[in-house]
Amino acid sequence: MKVTLNIWRQKNVSSKGRFETYEVDNIDEHISFLEMLDMLNERLLKNDQEPISFSHDCREGICGACGLFINGRAHGPMRGVTTCQLHMRMFNDNDVITIEPWRAKAFPVIKDLTVDRTALDKIMQGGGYVSVNTGGVPDANSVIIPKLIADEAFNSAVCIGCGACVATCKNASASLFTAAKVSQLALLPQGYPERKYRARNMIDVMDGLGFGNCSNTYACEVDCPKEISVLNIARMNREYLKSIFVSLYS
């Protein structure tokens, strides 16, 4: 199959970007979207042209490194997959595909389609950690967690931090990411020591980094490759309410 690509090219953080059009032919429909971009890059390199920069790592949909805004959707049109798990069979022959980087002030473009997602790490540093005792290794299963709770915490912990929620949100809000991280720790006993202030501290960092406000459109839930539920955002809001009551009245 053959596709026409409109790809965002940008030299570095400070330069102004523009769209460039490329045609890629002889694509096997069973190759992944990133492999199709590899084909294009090989051709560009052969012709002594600058290859297109994009982030990727495991190519198994579990690391969170890849992330492209494809035809107006984070990770493309398919639900529950990362860009690397999107295959060319999802497209038609002669399709025109527009590829853009995650667009958010908090995610500056480093080059072409590669963005700097350090902002998400900073939110984690704000409160996405737990205190542990030094000393010997604790016995396995010494802390009993009911399966239902463990499953619920796991559903939040599947977040790979790709930033699709921010990219797809009309307000570039990092609420789903932050909420998933708040949730996974709020549900487990290991997260209790910092629980009182966690939501508040992480939200402080999130607001300070220039992410927008959540307006409950729930686009993040739809475009999240791990299908993390917006119930997490409700949980974060509850945690926040508890946290401010504790702080104001103690």
């Binding site: 107006g72 002030k105 220039g210 409950n216 459109t217 955002i233 309410l241 401010i244």
Partner: protein, 221 residues
Amino acid sequence: MASSSKESLKKSIGRSVGKKFIMAMTGLFLLVFLLIHLIGNSMLIIDPSGETFNAFVEGMTHNPMIRIMEFVLLFGFIFHIIDAIVLKIKNRQVRSVRYKVYSQSANSKFQSRTMLFTGLTIFSFLLLHIYQFVAIRRIFNADITMFDLVRETFKDPIYIGIYILAFILLSFHLNHGFESAFQTFGLNSKKYTPILKRAANIYSYLVPAGFTAISIFMYIN
């Protein structure tokens, strides 16, 4: 251990989630007001002579509790609108370069993305509405009963058109706002949210439909 720097109410409300709480709280308050307003309007149909309606209006005007609630309502509107604008200003600054292709209709509802537009349109209708039904009697001291004023106003098909349009937009606004408020308060669960969504749908269709039906009833009679 996480920092436990001194918290103040100003700080708590100032964060993104705090501003959303104000939005949700004032929004829910306005939802209750709207329902009470509809109950009042329904007297136009229950007693077409207008006596019950006029008696109700008189009772409301002379009830000190209602007079106090009027101020609460005014502040409810002011906070709801100002908060919305403050949130929107921040949300407008989050992207320096906009997407060339942005398929928002594929992952979110139209009404959830147009809250400021529907809200501001409803607000302009509200100004007209206050002028026609409150200012004329209270500020310009027109000597006319509320029922006669309603009857006169609803004789104009253009006004009926504006009225219905405003309620269609209000329906969109309520549809998202009702459900969204509970999410903001953290009252969202697998068990109760489907019921809440149905309640939001019923409320957002039935209440505007009720107002519209009464206006058409007044026009026909």
